[in-house]
Symmetry: C2
Subunit: 742 residues, 2 copies
């Protein structure tokens, strides 16, 4: 995490799992193959007919096979080999799901054509370095169809998905889990599965590219230059988070975002007609996207190619390519039905499908000509990366400073001494709301952290998140770093996950009122699971926000995040603790942090420190000796002040009182037993906690004999001081509880 | 809650707070008033100009003042009196916010014209019985603008909002809290504030009307017949939950849903141009709505009236009336800016606004002619209800059975003996997944509960939620009770809140995988806060779902809901407990219930019972005497079986072991101290809990000396049995822990 060498190869070190598989056989046997790979014509047209009944396409001109198609990237294979490759993808998916007797064969069978075109003809990547910075990004938003991507990574030569991995699909510790996991499988950019997240992540990836390109590209050297592709299904389209993110993508004009909508009309409950009859085309046009319709996604390869070409030509808008496909294409009895969505086909139907598609091979077999055809991606990928490295060397010569900065973003090198920028405070510093102190920290860090960027869900002036030295990231000012998310919390979180996972050195933050984490919890959980170090700046963190009332007052939220794995829940009490929370958040690049911050003013307390925050819980004041106080008062955030005041009064009465700030339970848990004992000695059972939130979970800290003061009901609309008093979150309550226990 | 008398007047009893205000003075003093109430012309046109630059309106024909406008409902006031009434609304809002020095004056000032037209000219309601069944429903989705609605309720004569209530705006225990709360203020249909929820609630209200109308209306007697109106702002429009719900509203063809979009271009961060440049018109047309644009919402009363007329004429689609307004209309220096959104105007600007709008009155004053004009709503409302009661009497004579059923829905009378329909099980009953047992319960209840309706977010066949005796609620089959929500969890929850709050006897349920409560937590929290007894059927409740992996496996979710106020988190272990969970859920009409249900098969255990579930925690087996077992093993849901098996083994070794099912923490908390002591005696500190989820919070139950077995990391993709073993959620782990403690 500290400043490191100038080598770019650190990105290689990001390969989180060693690849221990043996190399492929050096002289593969050649097989003679039938070339009669025409599919059943019944799959090619009936969807289009059905379609015309039910959806309006007011202005979309469909791409037709008769349109003259220029070759897109490289003419790579004749038509029969393409179809053989596509069927290879289909059968790898069929076979893996069949072996696991679990999984989703329908999407890979329907999307194999677009998958093939993307990974074999269009995308630029290096199979031997999945973390090459300038690679095209691909997100399977419809993550349940992950066998599509595993098959593609396998064919393309990624070490993470060997044949034995495919055979371990959905098994314990395999690299082919049931949904794509970025932390398990190099080549997977983001974890998907929960619908709608992936397309929103893709918006974040495309934002990151546009931002970095604007910051670093030079007229003579466009060092940042890649596309972001995604496949999303009907399910993703129905999710609100997708609409939020796509509205922003249109607003920002993310022209290098190309989304394939797998329009197969089938979801788990059957035909999408039962719940989804909107015109997606009209909606996306309204959102400011370019929309293309490929009517025959099952065999219309040239149409898919032409659509991608058209999409790339439209530089000021993201493109949605609606590709009408048949789910489970090739299965004579199950295609175009929900039965092929989420279950193995069954031996009988697998046989029927093999027969139908003319596929004579054993399970998991990749025909030699297909293998040979795809094998070029290893040298070509190496060449792409080498060319880019040469380009970077040129760039470095000419633009030394920018090159160093870009390198630090690629390799996640924080500038040496960055933490010295954090402000510090004394008890004499003026009282202030931690949301304001947060803004001081953000603005101090913006000067030293080139990867810091972010914004608020339309509450910038309440969350205090504007970076004053930068303007707004907008369509025409993409080098700026203040992101305006609008009132779209869920999309905001998912977009930030995409930014964080684009480049290890990007440090996205996002903000709203703490209570509205309820709107974005799906995205926050994925930050935690997929190790995206997003910083969540959550202000108005208690009843202390006052008059806005119970809909706006978090009660259960601290507990609900303390219960979530791999996330840091931080509730700083004053200036030094806010700085400490930022130090922790910046250093934790592989887990997200949530900062709960006050709306109301808080004094700077004697004894608080950045170092203390790093330990999660620590003593801020103590008049006892021998690690045996009469009582320990424990507070967090805005209530630490109350604990400190109660201690003052109790000490005046001769009591030996320790005050502990418990800013992060997770960090405290990670300390040594001896440190924990030094703060919360087992022998002292007289413990009182105070926090303006639920007492749920506090038994762990105060013990069976202690007392937790908190709020186990919804809040109320009134001035903050009044609510504190009525709810008994007071110094007097702490003193009374302490006296009962001493 | 039990079967009751046939009186309709029970709905009156739903008035949750007594109205203790004195009656208005019988002879109000007449004041002589100026009639020069022309507003500043600068407010009438500039928005339209700005608009034409930034939004596309491809097909929407704007309503223009020149269009010949037929009188809508009743010609009620001359133009100057209308404007005076509108300014009264504006100044009540201004004055209340000013007095509180907190609140949102901008929306009420801009939306006063549409608010006036709705409450004074269009809506049918009875101020003296806010719970009259056939009233038109109104939802202020932009809940921060609640002074608009409080002012309207005040003028209309609702007892809940007297002048002294307006003066107590945002104060402790007032009936005019900072956001509208249905449980505080009769006349408020649903709690709003968190953006996007209200429009989704409105979809639920309109669904309920369409459903009940289809079930109960007769060609000669349309006993169910009302509209649902809502006002939403730019913020609501950006939220994904709104898009989800509006997509469904279009799909269902909810023609009696009329939504006013307050298109004022200002949100908290400034001009919406910074984050919101989509064409809302195109999007809503894509969603299947009828869209009308009122270009001048500030003074275009006839345009507003004409738009409502047009909306009512379109019977097969919901209508969005985009009303372009000026936020803070009338304030010479702050209108059309974010500064008027969420803060008091300040004394100086209040004066300037009074001058600008020609308003000579003291704060909170309602001019006598305005008062007199509005006073007709009390007799008219009484008449409307009396007419409807007469209509109902006719209906009752002719359609006795239907009338009784409708009455039971209006008054929330559960049929006598309904709970006898709940299935019961013995240990000999076949092992089954609790999701399947849930389906047996739902289908048994559907036969006896006329108010039960619901569905799944595209997982009906996984959640097992289909009611076999009914078809799908669809546009043309609205009397059916299976609702197909599509993959829209958040919209689903919010729509169910609307259904629940439409009529006390409606019992909506909705379903998805438990982990996806993360997507709908915003709506679930509002169920809890606003006392909507929605039943959340949440299957696949642990790592027991197996191969789908960590994105699908809930870990922290049980804890996160146990921490939430006013909600029941139930995790039944087998058939009897599932029946018990349904009994509890149905009886709790003023708090929501979440049922966490297994994907995997579970045996029916000896000792489980419906009565046990009602107590939250209870002993299912015990070989000890004198309330002093050697150890207490505590399990929930699928892990209760493991606890029972561990007990069997321990007993064979001579130990005295109690097994406790802890199906609902909240219900257990509500039991008497002596009951709690009988289950978990304080003297027995040897306690082991087992639950396939986070251990967070379990210290409260097992105590400092006990041991909680659980999972404090994310899950994994593998067959369920394998994961249980690898994660140590096993009988062996329970036995080992118990032996350590004994």
């Amino acid at each position: 995490m500290a400043s490191s060498s100038s080598s770019l190869s650190l990105s290689q070190a990001l390969l989180t799992k060693p690849t221990s598989h043996p190399s492929p056989s050096p002289s593969p046997t050649h097989l003679s193959l039938p070339t009669r790979l025409r599919q059943n014509p019944s799959f090619t047209s009936h969807r289009t007919t059905a379609l015309s009944h039910r959806r309006r396409h007011p202005t979309i001109t469909p791409i037709r096979a008769s349109v003259s198609v220029e070759t897109l990237e490289k003419p790579t294979a004749d038509a029969s080999l393409v179809e053989k490759s596509v069927n290879t993808i289909r059968f790898l998916a069929i076979d893996a799901v069949e072996k696991a007797n679990s999984g989703h064969p329908g999407l890979p069978m329907g999307c194999a054509p677009m998958g093939h075109v993307l990974y074999d003809e269009v995308m630029r990547y290096n199979p031997k370095n999945p973390y090459w910075f300038n690679r095209d990004r691909f997100v399977l938003s419809a993550g349940h169809g992950c066998m599509l991507q595993y098959a593609l990574l396998h064919l393309a030569g990624f070490d993470s998905v060997k044949e034995e991995d495919l055979k371990q699909f959905r098994q314990w510790e395999s690299r082919t889990p049931g949904h794509p996991e970025n932390f398990e499988t190099p080549g997977i950019e983001v974890t998907t599965g929960p619908l709608g997240q992936g397309i929103a992540n893709a918006v974040g990836l495309a934002l990151a590219e546009k931002h970095l390109a604007a910051r670093f590209n030079k007229p003579d050297n466009e060092i940042v230059d890649h596309y972001t592709y995604t496949i999303l299904g009907d399910g993703c389209q129905m999710e609100g988070v997708a609409n939020e993110a796509c509205s922003l993508a249109g607003h920002w004009g993310l022209g290098k975002l190309i989304a394939f909508y797998d329009d197969n009309h089938i979801s788990i409950d059957g035909n999408t007609e039962i719940a989804f009859t909107e015109s997606v085309d009209s909606r996306f046009e309204g959102l400011g996207w370019h929309v293309i319709w490929v009517k025959n996604g099952n065999t219309g390869y040239d149409d898919i190619r032409a659509a991608i070409k058209e999409a790339k030509a439209v530089k000021d808008k993201p493109t949605l390519i609606k590709v009408t496909t048949t789910i489970g294409y090739g299965s004579p009895n199950k295609s175009n039905s929900y039965s092929v969505h989420g279950s193995a086909l069954g031996a009988k139907e697998v046989d029927a499908t093999r027969k139908n598609l003319g596929w004579p091979y054993e399970p998991f077999h990749v025909p030699e000509d297909v293998k040979k055809h795809w094998s070029r991606h290893i040298p070509e990928g190496a060449k792409l990366e080498a060319e880019w490295n040469a380009k970077f060397a040129e760039y470095e010569k000419k633009y030394k400073e920018e090159a160093a900065e870009l390198k630090s973003l690629i390799n996640c090198e924080l500038p040496a001494g960055w933490e010295k920028a954090l402000p510090t405070y004394t008890p004499e510093s003026p009282a202030d709301a931690t949301r304001n102190l947060s803004q001081q920290n953000l603005n101090a860090l913006a000067k030293v952290l080139p990867g810091l960027l972010g914004g608020s869900a339309d509450l910038a002036s309440s969350n205090m998140t504007l970076l004053k030295m930068f303007g707004d990231f907008q369509k025409d000012t993409p080098a700026e770093r203040n992101i305006r998310f609008g009132v779209r919390e869920h999309g905001m979180g998912a977009i930030c996950n995409g930014i964080a996972l684009h480049s290890p050195g990007l440090i996205p933050y996002c903000a709203t009122f703490f209570v509205f984490t309820d709107y974005m919890r799906g995205a926050i959980r994925l930050s935690a699971l997929s190790q995206a170090g997003v910083i969540y700046v959550m202000t108005h963190d208690s009843i202390g926000l006052g008059e806005d009332g119970p809909t706006h007052q978090p009660i259960e939220h601290l507990a609900s995040f303390r219960a979530m794995p791999n996330i840091l829940m931080l509730r700083p009490a004053d200036g030094n603790e806010t700085a400490g929370a930022y130090k922790v958040a910046v250093l934790n690049r592989k887990r997200p942090s949530i900062l709960a911050l006050s709306r109301q003013k808080l004094p700077n307390l004697p004894g608080t420190s950045i170092e203390g925050v790093e330990k999660g819980g620590y003593t801020i004041s103590d008049n006892s000796t021998g690690n045996k106080p009469d009582v320990i008062l424990i507070g967090t955030g805005s209530e630490l002040e109350i604990a400190a005041k109660a201690a003052d009064d109790l000490r005046k009465e001769g009591k030996e009182v320790r005050v502990v700030s418990f800013v992060s339970w997770e960090l405290f848990d990670e300390q040594s037993e001896s440190y924990k004992e030094s703060v919360l000695p087992a022998a002292v059972s007289a413990r009182v906690s105070i926090e303006a939130g639920t007492t749920f979970g506090w038994e762990k800290i105060v013990g069976s004999k202690g007392k937790a003061i908190g709020i186990d009901r919804f809040g109320a609309s009134a001035p903050a001081g009044k609510i504190y008093k009525e709810f008994g979150i007071t110094k007097e309550a702490v003193i009374a509880a302490a006296k009962e226990l001493i």
